[in-house]
């Protein structure tokens, strides 16, 4: 058994977050595997640098720490991409992480890009009148995809790969924007639940205020994940862990004490978001079709970028 590290506490001595027992990981092993994974991905692809979008939240913050530990902070470019309604605290937290790590960073305000499409102050944007009353979800998706476009553009100039920052919990329930925040060359934390992200972030020294604040996609003011989904992460993580990783049935989860309506709702979220976790299907027509019966590793001799 690995030595249990005490969870970090706030000023009043309360733990910064709740870590369910069954989700506790050996953070030393996780760091080791992830550092090797990052170097392996870069090596196989013939790259030496990484680019990521730093929101000021725990997920991208943790990935910035992991990449810095793996390849050195000077080879990581963090891009801060606030919109005019983004929380100022997010930006100051992101700046604190950049200062702590000493990695290069850039600020790209996406306000003009997003407003240029949806319009602002009664002025129609490129999308015309039809998009003027777009819902917050549409606007949020557009922002996520705008950030993706910026990241991929900057990655060419920096000669780096775009690193994914989505966690396992949000991927499984589909709380991501397809081709937006989930777009990346590789993802070092995509198999860690939110509770495990917190545990690893604490072990790596991510600032406490980043670990403790309520997770938010920050796509509109005062949005938080847990309020939007009406769940708590430790509970959601446990349901997903027992249902998916440990293959327990709905009935077995109910017997363990989880509320049936919540379990069933989580199952629906997982089932309806399956498409977000897979490569789009190609109509099978020829003798050999990519992803169906033409199956190669992503990189092989002769395929490296140089």
């Amino acid at each position: 058994m690995s030595a249990a590290r005490p969870l970090p506490v706030d000023d009043a001595g309360r733990p910064l977050f709740e870590l369910p027992d069954e989700l506790a990981i050996d953070t030393d092993v996780a760091r080791r595997v992830i550092a090797g994974f990052i170097r392996g991905q870069l090596g196989q692809a013939g790259f030496e640098r990484c680019v990521l979008g730093l929101s000021g939240g725990i997920d991208s913050g943790l990935v910035a720490y992991l990449v810095s530990e793996s390849i050195g902070a000077d080879r990581l470019l963090c891009i801060l991409m606030p919109y005019r309604t983004s929380s100022p605290a997010s930006r100051s937290d992101a700046e604190a992480i950049v200062a702590e790590l000493g990695c290069p960073s850039e600020l790209v305000e996406i306000t003009a890009m997003v407003d240029g499409y949806f319009g602002r102050d009664g002025q129609a944007g490129a999308g015309g009148e039809a998009v003027a009353d777009a819902t917050p979800v549409r606007r949020g998706n557009f922002m996520a995809r705008t950030r993706m476009a910026v990241l991929y553009d900057r990655s060419v100039a920096f000669r780096g790969l775009v690193v994914g920052t989505g966690n396992k919990t949000e991927s499984l329930i589909g709380y991501t924007t397809l081709f937006g925040d989930n777009a990346c060359a590789f993802n070092p934390i995509g198999d860690l639940y939110k509770s495990q992200v917190r545990q690893l972030a604490a072990a790596m020294g991510v600032p406490n205020q980043v670990i403790a604040k309520a997770p938010s996609a920050d796509l509109w003011p005062d949005q938080t994940d847990e309020a939007e989904g009406s769940f708590s992460y430790p509970l959601l993580d446990r349901i997903l862990y027992w249902r998916i990783d440990r293959r327990r049935s709905t009935d077995e989860l109910v017997e363990m004490g989880f509320e049936r309506p919540l379990v069933e709702r989580v199952e629906r979220l997982v089932a309806t978001s399956e498409f977000k976790r897979q490569v789009p299907p190609v109509a099978k027509l020829g003798p050999r079709t990519a992803g169906v019966d033409y199956l190669y590793p992503r990189r092989r001799p002769g395929s490296t970028h140089s």
Binding site: V33, Q41, L295
Partner: protein, 351 residues
């Protein structure tokens, strides 16, 4: 005394030439370090997650590149692993014993995991032979590849066939990261348990060489080991670190252990063969199972239960006491006793 070199390498995926060169370098390094046996991991010459690349890196046993590698083993024994293409163009995951410039033996992986994160049966043919071979080391050597050791029969057959040194070469992906596990990794805990158990039960040395590095999503965890015939681990390589690790073993320990603990002497092969013959016939529905409950599937003693909403609400069913079957006259055993109209229920909730 034998010095064993564990080549815990990180092969380049599909990079056959580079991996061959690395093998030759490590053979020389091991020789310089006084090693008599050098063991490389599963598919150390090709990398693991090959998929359709397998056919492109496959070698026939008369491949000059293999002969060149074998030539580098004068005065040495080495176990190397690659994709072997047979004369009828089947692709095998193979491990060869190279000694004194020759290919002495080739083991073709028998058990190809095709579940979970594994997809080997899609790309490879399964070997049909488990055999120990004599070696220049003065002991019998038994080679197995990764999943081969997740089946009890493999180490047992190798030991019974004369192996005193069991080699398992692996590409085991690390997974089940959890604080409750021994070294933080469920895979490592399982493998360590297996290796110690096999060494003790076969009273043989077990040499486990697992690769490191990353192929696609998976990270191979290393942790190569040498376990004495007593089950005592003599050496455990670090997790995830590439390296050539030298371990000295006293081959006399096999004799000492086998005299003190004569498990192999006491094996009952005829009993095992007889019972296996019976089980094979029963599972094929070719013989009746005299100890089975009515309604049990062929070869399974326990009858299926009606499905229930949850495991904890299943009633406890008293088990019938097991009574040995009466002796029957020769020829009495025959085709299944089950009447043809009796429905076969395919659900068993206790498997």
């Amino acid at each position: 005394m034998l010095r064993i070199a564990l080549a815990q390498t990180a092969p380049g995926l599909g990079a056959l030439d580079a991996n061959l060169a690395r093998h030759r370098d490590l053979l020389e390094e091991a020789r310089a370090g006084g090693a008599g046996l050098v063991v490389f991991p599963e598919l150390g010459l090709t990398g693991y997650q090959l998929q359709d690349l397998a056919a492109e890196v496959a070698m026939r046993l008369d491949d000059p590149r293999l002969a060149a590698l074998a030539a580098a083993t004068r005065g040495l024994s080495a176990c190397v692993s690659f994709v072997e293409e047979s004369g009828d163009h089947r692709l095998f995951i193979a491990a060869a014993l190279l000694e004194d410039g020759e290919i002495r033996h080739v083991h073709r992986k028998v058990f190809l995991p095709t579940y979970g994160l594994f997809d080997e049966r899609r790309f490879f043919a399964a070997g049909d032979v488990v055999r120990a071979v004599p070696s220049r080391l003065g002991v019998g050597v038994g080679i197995a590849i990764c999943e081969d050791f997740w089946h009890l029969q493999t180490p047992q057959l190798l030991a019974l066939d004369g192996a005193q040194l069991l080699l398992n070469v692996s590409s085991s992906p690390g997974r089940d990261l959890a604080a409750r596990n021994d070294v933080g990794l469920g895979t490592a805990t399982s493998w360590r348990t297996l290796m110690r158990t096999y060494a003790q039960l076969t009273t043989s040395f077990v040499v486990f060489v697992n690769r490191v590095g990353v192929d696609e999503s998976v990270t191979f965890w290393g942790g190569s080991e040498v376990v004495a015939p007593s089950g005592e681990p003599l050496f455990s390589a670090p997790l995830f670190d590439e390296g050539l690790y030298l371990v000295d073993v006293n081959l006399e320990d096999v004799r000492r252990e086998r005299i003190a603990l004569p498990l192999l002497r006491d094996e009952r092969l005829e009993l095992q063969a007889r019972e296996l013959g019976r089980i094979i016939a029963e599972r094929a529905g070719l013989a009746s199972d005299s100890t089975a409950e009515p309604g049990a599937e062929p070869g399974l003693d326990v009858a299926p239960m009606a499905p229930l909403p949850s495991p904890s609400r299943r009633p406890k069913v008293p088990r019938r006491p097991m009574i040995p079957p009466p002796l029957r006259a020769p020829g009495e055993d025959g085709v299944a006793a089950r009447a043809p109209e009796e429905p076969i229920r395919l659900r068993s909730h206790r498997r």
